[in-house]
């Protein structure tokens, strides 16, 4: 038991330290596809370091909500992360139904980002906030549907339960349903992490931004926290997807931890490939894509309730 807690702590530490690598890897992959050398994979570390040494500038129209938001975003993301299992070791905080807490910790972060965006009174940020809410409502539904299917499948009601029981047995019995859930979940990742084809993190065009538009007014440490929280969120979601699709490796939990971290990095490469080969969708199409993701998970629920032995 002592050992598994240690593994879990190390897993958490690796996530907290390694998360800023993910955007770096994605950008490296995109640069490769574009025939460029691209920025270093450690770019986000440099950016966070640089931003931490800068003072934050606050618009006169903003209030305490704006100042609070970046801290809340970072704090809620880390709290949500504390509920996740690492390398097959359950979080010491896990409890039945913790997936709802996970979902709404993320939701609280978003709520504050949106509030802060509205607080600035900028038309760009208002537009970004409106888009974020529109897509988040759907993405939340898609995530809930995916959780629902997994609960049906594993008969567990905690994150540890639904994610850690996944092994080849489930894939061989209910492969179709799991595939649908995994596909839907991947769309949720792209939406939540503001990746192409839903959002374009590299654009400088305010009119097309979603997440970037909401943080146009943030600077200094606040911006560093937001960037860091975004990378943590990506690590969480990629990890969940990995736990879903990768079979468990028997043996030492340390070995499993290394495998898991490598899989997360490979997941980032995959996101980079997806971003490189397709263009961004029109805004009117985005709700359809996310609804389709929700539909996939709902279909999985139907399949499971009809055919599960």
């Amino acid at each position: 038991m002592e050992n598994s807690l240690l593994v879990w702590l190390v897993g958490l530490l690796v996530a907290l330290v390694g998360a800023p690598l993910l955007p770096g890897i994605i950008n490296k992959v995109k640069a490769f596809f574009a025939g460029r050398r691209g920025p270093s994979v450690f770019q986000l570390y440099y950016d966070i370091f640089r931003l931490c040494h800068k003072a934050s500038v606050y618009s006169k129209t903003t209030t305490w909500v704006f100042r609070l938001a970046s801290v809340v975003v970072c704090a809620t993301t880390i709290c949500a992360m504390l509920l996740l299992p690492f390398a097959g070791c359950a979080s010491p905080l896990f409890f039945t139904g913790d997936l709802i807490l996970f979902l709404y910790l993320m939701g609280t972060g978003r709520f504050f980002t949106v509030l802060a965006a509205l607080d600035t009174g900028s038309s760009f940020e208002g537009m970004g906030a409106s888009r974020e809410c529109q897509f988040a409502v759907l993405a939340e539904g898609a995530l809930l549907a995916a959780f629902g299917a997994l609960i049906l499948l594993t008969k567990h009601l905690s994150l540890y339960g639904i994610l850690n029981q996944m092994d080849m047995r489930f894939w061989s019995l209910d492969g179709t349903a799991l595939l649908l859930v995994a596909a839907g979940f991947f769309v949720v990742i792209l939406t939540e992490c503001c990746r192409v084809p839903i959002d374009d993190p590299d654009t400088h065009l305010e009119l097309t931004m979603i997440h970037e538009a909401m943080i146009l007014d943030n600077s200094g440490v606040d911006l560093a926290l937001i960037h860091y929280a975004a990378s943590l969120k990506m690590w969480c979601l990629l990890l969940m997807e990995i736990l879903l699709v990768c079979p468990r490796i028997p043996g030492s939990p340390w070995f499993a931890l290394v495998g898991e971290v490598l899989c997360v990095l490979v997941g980032a490469v995959f996101v980079g490939v997806v971003e490189s080969v397709i263009a961004r969708f029109r805004f009117v199409k985005v709700p359809q894509i996310i609804s389709a993701a929700m539909g996939a998970s709902l279909l999985a629920i139907v399949l499971l309730s009809l055919f599960q032995k």
Binding site: K30, F33, A34, G35, R36, S123, F124, G126, M127, S130, R131, V196, P197, D200, D202, T203, H204, L205, E206, L207, T208, E275, S276, V277, I278, A279, R280, F281, R282, F283, V284, K285
Partner: protein, 503 residues
């Protein structure tokens, strides 16, 4: 009997031979030509009161300054330019309501001279802020309603682009109306040119719109050569064509790459950025400057291209063409890209014709507007697409790229020896009191230069009409009922010049 004087491209006429008629006849002739005879407004401007015609009896009774309104229309059916003028005092009945192609010309006229086009539907300055108000303060088209919100973008933008102010009236993500406010790049170019030609004239015209230097100089040299009757040797003509087509190729590649970038399709975006640089370097191989500055001079071209140089260029063009085809087919074969381009920013053929779109934007809306074929009987077939959307504008560029690449290769292969610059010397003074017009189909569309000389053979007036001047309103129309998030790709698909417009 038409009141117009017809000129060929690069034709000139003495100011005393300039046809002048009463306002009623001027109006009816102009409206008939534009609305029924498919003429395009190439230039429409006023000339101050010190012209010889002002001694004639006008209708003005008050002691006010009279101006001469000069109109130059392009007649694609007769393959010629039509010139007409009329005298005005302080106001005249506006033409815009009946022929929207005059819209910006009349606003420009009003802000420059104070002559009031009566009944103009939206008379506000196009370049300068209202003189009676603080800088930057003006009336904007607004909409009322709880759900309507206004988004103001610019004049300072993210990214390294020119300044311009865009105002959207939106409901949610849908745009009802876009108003474009320009003038931030105004440098007073037309005023600086008065009294020329002098040593500064070339530099000023090459940088009027810096991405269209070669085409602007072709216009300017065309005017000087026509006025001084200088014949450009065949080799000089060929080298000029090569430079003009290289300019077109480089800019079209840049535009297609930028379109890919705006829909986050990275491979084509990066490749096009690099290949555009390669083509700019080819222009530099011709004259030492990537934008072709200093290449075109009256009488021909300044720099010689030897046989080895021509072969080297030909090889580079062939390599560039191959790489370009790969980069473009990546984009045009990608369904998610096509989905973004299709039916985005549609300007219907009828709207395009009414507001007088020219160049790539006009051709993408189904209008065969291209002064390469419209002003001479050379059998030129313009690349026309019918959709009027972003995809059509991209496809027009792709087809023109193919044609231009073929043309450059042909010109390089068949480049003959001989002089590339006429030995004739420019006279110190141009012919007195003469009007001369020259149009060139630049990569963006047709550029029109009108030069009028004074009694000493210096420029009394040089009127520049950049294609962007015709097309900015087209962008505003393209955004109606579109998604506001599609503005960047609509804007890139037009890719209009701010400084060419603001002058």
């Amino acid at each position: 009997m038409s009141p117009f004087l017809t000129l060929k491209n690069g034709g000139s006429c003495s100011m005393s031979a300039l046809p002048q008629c009463g306002m009623d006849e001027f109006r009816s002739a102009s409206l008939q030509a534009v609305n029924q005879e498919q003429c395009r407004v190439s230039a429409f401007f006023a000339l101050g009161n010190n012209c010889p015609q002002n001694t004639q009896k006008g209708e003005c009774t008050k002691e006010v300054e009279k101006s001469l309104l000069v109109e130059i229309l392009l007649d694609p059916q007769q393959k010629c330019l039509r010139v007409l003028s009329t005298e005005v005092c302080e106001k005249y009945p506006s033409l815009t309501a009946e022929a929207p192609a005059f819209h910006w010309f009349e606003r420009e006229l009003f802000e420059e001279t104070g002559i009031l086009p009566e009944g103009h539907p939206w008379l506000k300055p196009i370049r300068f802020a209202d003189k009676n108000r603080e800088p930057g303060v003006t009336d904007y088209f607004t909409m009322e309603g709880e759900a309507v919100h206004e988004v103001a973008v610019g004049p300072v933008h993210a990214g390294v682009i020119e300044p311009g102010h865009f105002r959207f009236q939106c409901m949610g993500e849908d745009v009802f109306s876009l108003e474009i406010e320009l003038g931030y790049q105004h440098r007073g170019i037309e005023k600086m040119l008065v009294g020329g030609p002098d040593v500064r004239t070339t530099h000023i015209l090459e940088t009027a719109a810096g991405d269209t230097s070669v085409a602007a100089m072709l216009n300017y040299c065309g005017i000087l050569e026509a006025l001084c009757q200088i014949e450009v040797p065949a080799r000089g003509v060929a080298l000029r064509r090569i430079a003009l087509e290289l300019e077109r190729i480089a800019n079209h590649i840049g535009d297609l790459g930028a379109l890919a970038g705006d829909v986050a399709f990275l491979p084509t975006s990066s490749f096009c950025g690099r290949i555009r640089g390669d083509f700019l370097n080819m222009t530099a191989r011709l004259c030492g400057n990537r934008f072709g500055r200093g290449l075109v001079v009256p009488g021909g071209v300044r720099y010689e291209l030897d046989k080895a140089g021509a072969e080297e260029l030909l090889k580079k063009v062939q390599v560039g063409e191959k790489e370009l085809q790969e980069a473009l087919s990546l984009m045009f074969d990608e369904p998610t890209v096509l989905d973004r381009f299709e039916n985005t920013g549609v300007v219907s053929t009828e709207t395009a014709r009414q507001i007088g779109l020219v160049g790539v934007a006009g051709r993408a809306s189904g209008l065969a507007v291209d002064c390469r074929g419209d002003l001479s009987e050379n059998g030129f077939v313009p690349a026309v697409e019918q959709g009027g959307d972003v995809l059509s504008r991209a496809l027009v560029r792709r087809r023109e790229l193919e044609a231009s690449l073929a043309e450059v290769k042909g010109l390089l292969e068949s480049l003959r020896g001989g002089e590339s610059r006429s030995t004739a010397v420019l006279p110190t003074a141009l012919p007195n009191d003469t009007l001369c017009v020259h149009l060139t189909e630049a990569w963006r569309g047709e550029i029109c230069h009108v030069a009028i000389t004074d009694g000493q053979g210096r420029f009394r007036r040089v009127k520049i009409v950049d294609p962007s001047f015709h097309n900015w309103f087209g962008l505003a129309m393209a955004l109606r009922n579109q998604q506001i998030s599609d503005f960047p790709i609509c804007n890139k698909s037009f890719n209009l010049s701010y400084c060419g417009h603001d002058l």
